[in-house]
């Protein structure tokens, strides 16, 4: 079916207000069953996926937006959001770097983003700019030789529907939560990874997502499957241009680790957090969950969260297989008026399952930062172990840090350890470093990086450097 006929079919079904702007190919704001059908049709999806979406949509309609997190924001009008936007050419996109906001370029400079990357990140029209459709993935040939599948989600729909049908929604059920249901109904694209039995993925898989068109909700879907004995490391990095509107982002990431396999998922998230006064910024409501299905499998989440106006995110592990291992390493920074409520869930089901949680929260300015964690040890999880360390660092006297750890243990053979601390970046620490010749800014970075050290150690090398720079930029001007 060509684009033209596709459009006319959709237009027929959806007569009122469906504007197909050739330039941007965007659905008008609003969400009902027709929109869900239109998305599925536009993407040429098989029947099972349409049903998946419709089921999710119907469930979503019966659900309410959750408000238990320690975040505060104006009500979101879900009917004011456009749920599909495939980029073609951008009329209003900057034509060259000269047209890009210098403040944004200065940030790239400080982050050490390579020149050729800057244009793409800043949304310059000359390059492949993308919205909901995934960027062309790289190194495909090398991966193909190893038998690794790494492609945009929409491509996997066409090439490997059987894998999707088997795994999609098997870790995060469509009705898991309000945002997961919404995502399941309207997701447009994302990434798909499958590592076959016994294969060690020959390179780190990385992808850049970014939010580009104004007022477009972003609903990515990521599915990563490591088959028996497979190993993969996946990097997700994000940057965003300066925008005034609040943008909703509700992604779902599902990880499946079969027997003896290992998945490492690293994120550096730097979406627009709003300006110094808290105006604008991304709302980030994400569901990330991995399931260690097989014995001795391992899933490790590492995240550095510095962006977004609101972060609501709890990458979790379900430890089903005996002797499986779950890890969560997190640095979450909130500055100015940012609000971050993040943490993890470790659900121990299998015998001798092990989990480690290291959470480092940093709050500066008027920001609020919360850690929310749940460790559940089921009766079946004999000999399970958990170690939790959650530390908060406050900068200035207007920032807030909260910790909400919950532990449920249903057997007597398990061991749980929990350490927590809250400290203030000390005048004395700053004075000490400055007395040794460091500027207040450098001293702050040094102290903060020290605080985050055992999380950064978990990041792949080049990501760790990026993360350190990011922290420096994020906390600029918060001390001294």
């Amino acid at each position: 079916m060509t684009d033209h006929t596709l459009d006319s079919v959709i237009a027929k079904r959806y007569e009122h207000g469906f504007i197909t702007d050739i330039e941007s190919d965007t659905l008008p704001p609003g969400l009902d069953e027709q929109v869900v059908r239109a998305i599925s049709l536009k993407k040429n999806e098989p029947q099972f996926l349409l049903e998946f979406r419709l089921k999710a949509f119907r469930q979503w309609q019966t659900m309410r937006e959750p408000h238990w997190a320690a975040v505060d924001y104006a009500p979101i009008d879900y009917q004011a959001i456009s749920y599909y936007s495939a980029p073609k050419t951008k009329k209003d996109a900057p034509k060259s770097l000269e047209e890009v906001d210098p403040k944004l370029l200065a940030t790239y400079e400080k982050l050490g983003v390579p020149l050729h990357e800057r244009a793409r990140l800043a949304g310059v029209a000359v390059d492949a700019v993308f919205d909901s459709v995934s960027v062309a993935t790289t190194f495909k040939d090398r991966l193909a030789k190893a038998g690794v599948l790494f492609c945009p989600f929409s491509e996997a729909v066409k090439s490997h529907p059987e894998l999707l049908e088997r795994y999609l929604g098997s870790v995060v059920p469509i009705g898991d939560n309000f945002y997961a249901a919404l995502n399941s109904a309207v997701f447009t694209d994302g990434s798909f990874v499958y590592i076959p039995k016994g294969v060690r993925c020959p390179m780190e898989l990385s992808t850049y997502f970014r939010i580009n068109a104004a007022n477009t909700g972003q609903f990515e879907r990521t599915l990563i499957i490591a088959d028996e004995g497979a190993t993969v490391s996946y990097l997700e990095g994000c940057t965003a241009p300066m925008r005034d509107e609040n943008q909703l982002h509700a992604a779902v990431v599902e990880l499946i680790a079969e027997q003896d396999s290992s998945i490492k998922y690293s994120t550096v998230q730097n979406w627009y957090p709003g300006d110094e006064n808290g105006v604008g910024g991304i709302y980030n409501f994400v569901t990330k969950r991995g399931e260690c299905r097989g014995a001795r499998s391992k899933i490790s989440w590492t995240q550095v969260e510095t962006g977004s106006a609101i972060t609501w995110k709890y990458p979790s592990c379900v430890l089903k297989g005996d002797d499986s291992v779950g890890e969560f390493y997190s640095v979450a920074v909130a500055n100015h008026h940012q609000q971050a409520d993040t943490g993890t869930k470790m659900i121990h089901l299998g015998k001798r399952t092990k989990s480690t949680i290291v959470s480092k929260g940093i709050a500066a300015g008027k920001a609020s930062q919360s850690y929310r964690g749940l460790v559940t040890i089921a009766k079946s999880a004999a000999g399970a172990r958990n170690f939790t360390q959650c530390d908060s660092l406050l900068m200035g006297d207007q920032a807030a840090a909260h910790t909400y750890p919950v532990v449920e243990v249903k057997n007597t053979s398990s061991i749980i350890e929990h350490e927590a601390s809250t400290s203030k970046i000390g005048e004395d620490q700053l004075f000490y470093c400055q007395q040794r010749g460091l500027s207040a800014e450098d001293a702050t970075n040094l102290i903060v990086n020290g605080f985050c050290k055992n999380v950064f150690n978990e990041l792949p090398m080049e990501f760790a450097v990026e993360a350190q720079n990011l922290l420096a930029v994020t906390l600029e001007g918060s001390v001294g």
Partner: protein, 251 residues
Amino acid sequence: MTTCLQIDNLHATVNGKPVLNGLSLHVGLGEVHAIMGPNGAGKSSLSQLLAGKPDYTVTSGSATFMGEDLLNLSIEERACRGLFLGFQYPIEIPGVSNIYLLKAAVNARRKQQGLPEVDAFDFLNLVKAHTEAMKMNDSFLNRGVNEGFSGGEKKRNEILQMLVLEPTLALLDETDSGLDIDALKVVAQGVNSARSPQRSIVLVTHYQRLLDYIVPDHVHVLAHGKIVHSGDASVARELEAKGYDWITETP
């Protein structure tokens, strides 16, 4: 002789409370001075103020360092010009390795002097030589700054930093407190090895004990926020014998 530190009639307050009341002091380059005095005399205030701690407000008087107005410089500018403070209570900085901070400090100073960053190999060799001299295990270098250090280890670490940074003026604030006799000897040896015609050292101490090992050129008695008595090393012995009362009774 070149003047290293010149303080004239310095008055200062902390939280509105006077801590220095007309203090004057002259330290020539290459000299070792000891400032002694009873608790609460203003000894630590003096060294912290000279290093630029923001809590202190200078209400009148002046201080110059190598001919330059010290009081208008930021903390790090003072440090990069060669002023070193050995802290009485060195603070812990978890997760930041000792060697990392040392290198950052050395490079900050080199940057100020227009020099390129120190060669990693040379730096390590230099640090290791000093670590040995201070009878510190190499593993110290990779531990977090003062993290879980004993009192004695913290003090030795301060002297190690001084040796590596090669300051023009070292203010050592109660470096002897909390040290057993063996550690005291090591610290004293470290300080003595740093004596040079190009370096002035000001020891701030309550006890005469340290001065048995580091013999100063001049000893000053600080009381009520100013120097009330000055002399040579014999003053310290006199204080040890007679206590402070005879010298500090009237403000």
